[in-house]
Amino acid sequence: MAQAALTIDGLSVDFEGFKAVNGVSMVIEEGELRVLLGANGAGKTTLMDLITGKTRSTSGRVFLHDTDITNWEEHKIARAGLGRKFQIPSVFKELTVRRNLEVASCKNPGVFANLGFGFGASAKQNVDEVLELIGLADEAHRIAAYLSHGQTQWLELGLLITQNPKIILLDEPTAGMTQAETHKTSLIVNNLRGRHTIIVVEHDMAFVREIAERITVLHLGQVLAEGNVAEIETNPRVREAYLGSKGIS
């Protein structure tokens, strides 16, 4: 059995009496690709917020490998090796595509360490590779604000790939994409498999089928079921709670 990359142990948050996430535990192994499923309000995004430090948990712990990162500040968790893609694509809109990736390639977070010019030759090579991977090499000198929605999503994925964290959290990476764009996104995500541990929150079942190994289903802030696509599709509790009687279609 592989080593655990991310361990979540009894994580809960209490918003003045409402438990958006209630005692969630799961172990994600090194190199695994895990999909988080759940209806609206099941606590998927809140769980991401708790893991990445955006929201402070009220109980439970989060471990990145052996490091306890519970309730650290966001940038420290990011530096510890956890990257996140937001549901609403977030890139640096007034910078060029290349500049966006250069910022992500910056290895030293301090202000004073960055009072020099240029990001270095290794960063340039890294950025060139990522531009190829996300298919934006021809757009490298465009201002990010002028990219299409799909391209913006890919650029944000590119930021994560450049940042090169051990664990990548993707919050609905195909939201608002056409079928062709969704397919291209699944190619990019599949390309990352093995090199990173990946957790994906997703609604689009076509996309889930293209990428999923293991699925964890959340319901009302708790883990409802865990298994591969076939197991989840046939699990009666999941069908009842989320998929309806028709199953995954």
Binding site: T52, E74, H75, K76, A78, R79, G83, R84, F86, S90, V91, F92, K93, E94, L95, R99, N100, E102, V103, A104, C106, P109, G110, V111, F112, N114, L115, G116, F117, G118, F119, R142, I143, Y146, L147, S148, H149, G150, Q151, T152, E156, L159, Q163, G176, M177, T178, E181
Partner: protein
């Protein structure tokens, strides 16, 4: 270096040469005026850094300008000949004695309860140093609190605005040590190695012109460093930058401190060329006027904001002294502001950047064409 970058540096060089040769064609009266406008140009640089590059509108920039101005003015007040003629062996500001209680000692230590604060200012270099240190320290404390607490956008503007007005009130109220409404007047001259900077001589103009050139080039280089680029990334999307591992408040605070240092430095130079410091530096209108300069010149362009400040002040001086416009000049400045905001939202600097883009790429309006990419309609 790209063609665009080369053109940009050429424009900077042109500007520096222009302000360096100005004394050859100008009489001393205008030279002193232009020196003041160059100081305003430096304030434009400070606003461009905080508003254009950090993306946070500081409506209290006058606080740092005022702090720098008062600190140096206190030293220069003590250097004034009248301060030596107050019946004491050591210099004493005249206004302090006018307001002193009958029978009070005439020594700086104990004229009134707070007059001892003036003691270290007997050394001109103390005033000069504290004129930089005080704005930076204030900015560091204030902005660390604001940005760590993640107070955003308009609330920072409101807090900084309130703060500058508060300090203005305190300065007016502390009349025994600050001379209140009247401010500090009748100042001595700034001295370096025996050279006295009389505001109407050419070396004083060059003190300002060289300072501005250094600040301009320094600020332009600073926003080109990795830290400067990361700051712009923070401006565009704070959360994204945070999740890439950057300590966002540290970047914002650092650049606000640089901006405060430039404003404080400008305040000191202003005192040298105008020979007074007054609470009007901390008026609401002055801090807002700085923002207007930067908006007209282009807040995301260091040189643009600087030229905007110089241009507007030159225009207002010229217009307000033209007989027909003597009453209407404020309306004319207001009209220019409205037109720029409506038709040139990125200011003159933005216009210049677009023009250079066209010359370099020779593909006019290519940006608008690219935006109509069919997949972009998915954005909503």
């Amino acid at each position: 270096m790209s063609a665009k970058r080369r053109i940009e540096w050429a424009v900077y060089a042109l500007f520096v040469v222009a302000i360096m040769i100005a004394p050859l064609i100008m009489e001393p009266f205008w030279l002193n005026r232009v020196a003041k406008y160059l100081v305003y140009g430096m304030l434009g640089v400070a606003v461009a850094l905080s508003w254009g590059y950090a993306g946070i509108l500081n409506l209290g920039q006058g606080l740092f300008f005022g702090a720098g101005a008062y600190m140096l003015a206190m030293s220069l007040k003590l250097a004034s000949p009248t301060s030596l003629q107050q019946g004491s062996d050591r210099p004493v500001p005249d206004f302090m004695l006018w307001n002193a209680e009958p029978g009070a000692p005439t020594e700086l230590c104990c004229i009134n309860k707070a007059s001892f604060l003036w003691l270290p200012f007997q050394n001109q270099w103390f005033g000069t140093a504290i004129g930089l240190i005080l704005p930076v320290a204030t900015a560091a404390v204030l902005d660390t609190i604001l940005f760590r607490k993640r107070i955003s956008g308009v609330f920072v503007s409101i807090i900084t605005l309130a703060l500058v007005l508060l300090v203005r009130l305190v300065v007016i109220d502390a009349q025994p040590v600050t001379n209140g409404f009247n401010g500090l007047t009748d100042l001595g001259w700034f001295k370096v190695l025996g050279l006295e900077f009389d505001p109407y001589i050419v070396p004083t103009y060059y003190l300002v012109a060289v300072s501005l050139s250094l600040v301009l080039v320094g600020a332009r280089l600073l926003v080109d460093t990795r830290a400067g680029i990361i700051l712009q990334a923070v401006r565009d999307d704070q959360n994204r930058a945070r999740y890439l591992g950057f300590d966002v408040p540290a970047y914002q605070t650092f650049f606000f401190c640089v901006s405060a240092a430039i404003a404080g430095f400008a305040g000191m130079l202003y005192v040298v060329v105008s020979e007074f410091a007054s609470p009007t530096f901390m008026d609401l209108t002055f801090s807002i006027t700085m923002v207007v300069w930067a908006a007209v010149g282009g807040r995301s362009s260091i040189l643009g904001a600087c030229i905007g400040a110089i241009l507007i002040n030159t225009i207002s001086a010229t217009v307000s002294e033209t007989e027909g416009f003597a009453e209407a000049w404020k309306a004319i400045i207001g009209l220019i502001f409205v037109l720029v905001v409506l038709y040139l939202p990125r200011g003159l600097g933005g216009l210049a950047h677009d023009l250079v883009d066209r010359i370099v790429t020779r593909k006019p309006a290519s940006r608008e064409l690219r935006v109509s990419d069919p997949s972009s309609q998915l954005a909503e």
